[in-house]
Point group: C3
Chain length 432, copies 3
């Protein structure tokens, strides 16, 4: 178990600079821990307040709070951040407390929360608490329910979390730009009774899309459809951590979508049911069995299943371009076109020219192609049996036997699991 | 209560020119009232026939009928129209009876309806009664179930409304063009028993998208994806009326989608359930709690909630570009790019040039930028607390206490409600 | 009833060339029938094993199997194919056993299946059995759960079909390319008890989209959004067979989506409910009444209704561009623009030039416009009452009385049904 004290000592966190705090009434502001890496932190076990089973934020972290006279106080700082999208590529985004997406806010049904929002962006902002039912003045719609929070200022939101469920936060100010720049975070409100809706493993992440030209760092914010980075929590394959669970675990995966199109998230080897949306818990009578759940824009879906089948199960968006990284969309089809001799001729004119695609594109995944700086290959990744040929919204649910609870609280686990495949490969007979 | 007689006297209505009618058997054709403004008319209380609780058409109106020997007779005229999209912009569309969308058709389960459709377009048309179960010959599919209705001719549809529910009408002839030009209207069939599925407030509108180049008036009809006007009933924010309800009302909002993509319609401050589709009423056991409902193309969704939380609640499509108006999609990202001196240099070459976006785009909403004629700003609108920075599919559900039924039948109410905010704003402590 | 022996004698099938088979252990490989036409074959009544009510594959066929020691053995050959998209256009795709999509695999809950997959493509491949719950090593994800199947090799998948339901197969290797080239097929697992979930007519097809430039044959594989051929089982209207049923039949239509966007499939004259997804059977309590079902990408939906209303009922995707064929998307809007004299002037410069669209586009459907080779008209088809003006994802559910079971097992039936319209057309009074 990791206490809040340990948490703050973590080398990748930094407490908000003391100089700034001393210039105002320091006593009234809670600490604002920051995270500088895109690694998955262990679940934050609640140090005080009502008990609950904490969630795991995919390649993310949970925001610590302080308790003050019956309130849980959180401090979010809206600011420019650098997010590693995957090893080899960094994006210049806007986020909260050092990362994009911001930290997950966890609390319990009935908790009274006070959330300080400090604006360190170059323009005004607000925060809307998507799905949370609260007083109108706390709803965070700039111009309509509050004045915008000017650059350099702090605004305080106060409300009671009346309903358990699955929510998110994002600005409602210059909204198209600020969401396209990565401003978003997850909210989980646990039931008062920790045995209600209980699961063994509870993962959360947001779906976000960016349009960053190969070789550049900043998203094009006015793009409506042709994004080239489709992410789980602003990470792409192979930079997305695995979802590691024990055989027999009841698993919940909660997803929110802040892109511009729906994402049909598909699991292999299992079927699941949607048990919660941003509107609340779905009654059993209304649940459908699914292997693909289409998460609409501006909505959240929690799915649940019993992890009874061991193995490495692909978990991905089923729009096939969303499991690709940048490049590739301007590539003409060369299938069936004999290119012998072409490369040689062009090679004299263009150094590093490669003819690709005459026989499909799989050959691209197997070779090292020269790429612009800060650019990921279109499809990549290696598994135990060779190239996986994926990118974007793709990861693996690893279901393992004999996994102790302690094991999978070690963050290293999520990235380099020691498991072995449960099934042996059979060679087929050769034909010719 | 407004009688049909009063309704027809309304200055914004015009009865079909007498000259045309006298050239045929005038007795056989019902009047065809026309509407020339995009204002919301009060609910049309039924002057005869079975009683029901009428709907409110957002920025629209309901078509009066005449009773003849047990039939309700309606008269639709398909024709070119001019629709004000919002103050400052008009579109040249095709619609019905003077507006696009056409008037809402309301009737009661068991009613026998006779609908005269007169074609004043330059090409043939038909009407398909989407969702209504009727005899095959009345289904309105040009070529398949009937000949196309030539320009200048009238076709008569006759059928019984066997099922209560939420439907729409649109052509099934040169369909891509005619729907892209705005030909559509809403149909509500009320239950025989007015207490079945009863609500206090019942709003209806259609989702439509247009691609009208800045400075022009006619939609590009062959566009498939990149629309620039995303509308509720062919209006965009800030031209969309509010949805005004009393605290405690049971509210229903019915929406149909005739664009080319799904729209995740999100409400703030509430959760709701889908209670009706174009297929019928959704049983309680199958309903999900939601705050965002993704309305598929070619489908209708009615959502319901109890308006127990007073305030001004945003209600909008959650695809962030759909709450923007035209322009903006070709704007390059200038975030983080220092533009000092650039404007000055360019200003000498290009009069009225503005550097925008270095710090985000919020500054654009606050200033008056020169725009081409007949073009709306990308994001605009002012609320009680400043610029709202929205466009497109955005409006506000205003939940008020002490609102008399008479008040909210005054159409002025919907546009300039006198309400005050329920919650006071708190200033946060300053940081530096 | 058609026996397997008859089936293999069918002139449009060809058994895999004997030379290849003799070069390996011929005994171990089942036959691999191939289909060279895009015609709908009659349902394949099971020659052995547990009885079931076979499905009808729209413009497709079912793969025969052989029984060997308690296993059902199937043989799929991944290979380049030529698919007729509609009369007048052929596409060079990749598929299975001579066609794209590949043959439907039908079996029964509890069956143990052994599926030989021979790779005759120029690059490696795998097959993922979407929705089937099976051992991890059989899941078909190249690199992750098995090595890729190299060109020229055969791989054997073995698993038990533990659950009845509606599934599909497709590669999980160079996935974007291989699915964009048409590699996909349907899987139906019937319940052990043939009276469970029983229907009278059970249709299956996959939704696929291609981007083939007018005049060319090979899809552009890197396209993400702007496809120009939207297909049911890789056929477009008017090349899609009808869905013919008897009045009173309980009808099921199962659809899977392997395009890049959701498809709202709409039926006229009926409402229906989703009864099965790729996750399993939907309980009655959770079913919604619908007339349009939005099929998400990477998901399957089975809908059911009682065919009690005779007639010709349109059945189509409700995104209006998806009922259009190629061309048209670059056409500027000429509505309201007087073009008199223009055609004459241009005609002198450009032979065969046509001015179109001044009055809408319906005129285009009525005339024979010169088109590039291997290119379909944008909207076409003739019904009993004139031009239908459709393309793409459009067909007709024909509900007929007095139709014997034998009749509708004749494949000719699906294409040229003798039925008459149930309702007579009424002329409306003329206006001027």
């Amino acid at each position: 178990m990791i206490s809040r004290r340990d948490f703050l000592r973590n080398s990748s966190m930094a407490v908000l600079g003391a100089t700034l705090v001393t210039r105002v009434q320091a006593a009234s502001l809670p600490e604002a821990p920051r995270q500088t890496k895109a690694t998955m932190t262990p679940p934050l076990l609640p140090p005080d307040g009502r008990p609950y089973n904490p969630v795991v934020t995919l390649n993310g972290w949970t925001l610590p709070w302080r308790r003050r006279k019956g309130w849980k106080e959180f401090h979010l700082i809206a600011e420019p951040v650098v997010r590693e999208i995957a090893p080899g590529m960094k994006a210049h985004l806007w986020g909260y407390n050092g990362q994009s997406p911001g930290p997950t806010i966890e609390c319990v049904e009935g908790d009274r929360v006070r959330i300080f929002v400090t604006n360190r962006l170059p323009e005004h902002t607000t925060i809307h608490w998507h799905g949370v039912r609260l007083p109108n003045g706390m709803d965070g719609v700039g111009g309509l329910t509050q004045p915008q929070i000017p650059a350099g200022k702090t605004f305080v939101y106060e409300f009671e979390m009346k309903h358990s469920g699955t929510f998110m936060y994002h600005p409602h100010a210059d909204e198209m730009v600020q969401m396209a720049m990565g401003m978003m975070g997850f909210i989980v409100v646990h039931p008062k009774n920790p045995n209600q809706y209980r699961v063994d493993r509870d993962f959360v992440f947001l779906l976000a899309a960016y349009d960053i030209d190969p070789g550049s760092y900043t998203p094009r914010v006015a793009e409506m459809l042709n994004f080239n980075l489709w992410t789980f929590n602003s990470r792409v394959f192979p930079g997305i951590d695995h979802l590691v669970v024990r055989k027999g675990d009841r698993v919940r995966i909660r997803m929110g979508n802040l892109t511009m199109t729906s994402h049909p998230i598909h699991i292999h080897g299992y079927n699941f049911a949607v048990t919660c949306t941003d509107g609340g818990w779905v009654p059993k009578s209304a649940q459908w069995p699914e292997t693909t759940i289409d998460v609409p824009v501006g909505a959240l879906r929690a799915v649940e299943f019993i992890a009874d089948a061991p193995g490495d199960w692909a978990f991905h968006c089923h729009k096939s371009h969303h499991t690709m990284n940048a490049m590739g969309h301007q590539v003409p089809t060369m299938i069936g076109v004999d290119q012998k001799g072409i490369a040689e001729k062009i090679g004299k004119l263009v150094p590093e020219y490669m003819v690709m695609g005459e026989k499909g594109m799989a050959e691209m995944a197997a070779m090292a192609m020269p790429l612009p700086d800060n650019t990921l290959p279109m499809m990549t990744g290696h598994g135990p049996f060779g190239p996986i040929e994926m990118g974007g919204m793709f990861t693996v649910v690893k279901v393992r036997e004999g996994l102790a609870r302690e094991d999978y609280q070690d963050p290293g686990w999520y990235r380099h699991p020691p498991g072995t495949l449960a099934y042996e490969l059979k060679d087929g007979p050769e034909l010719d």
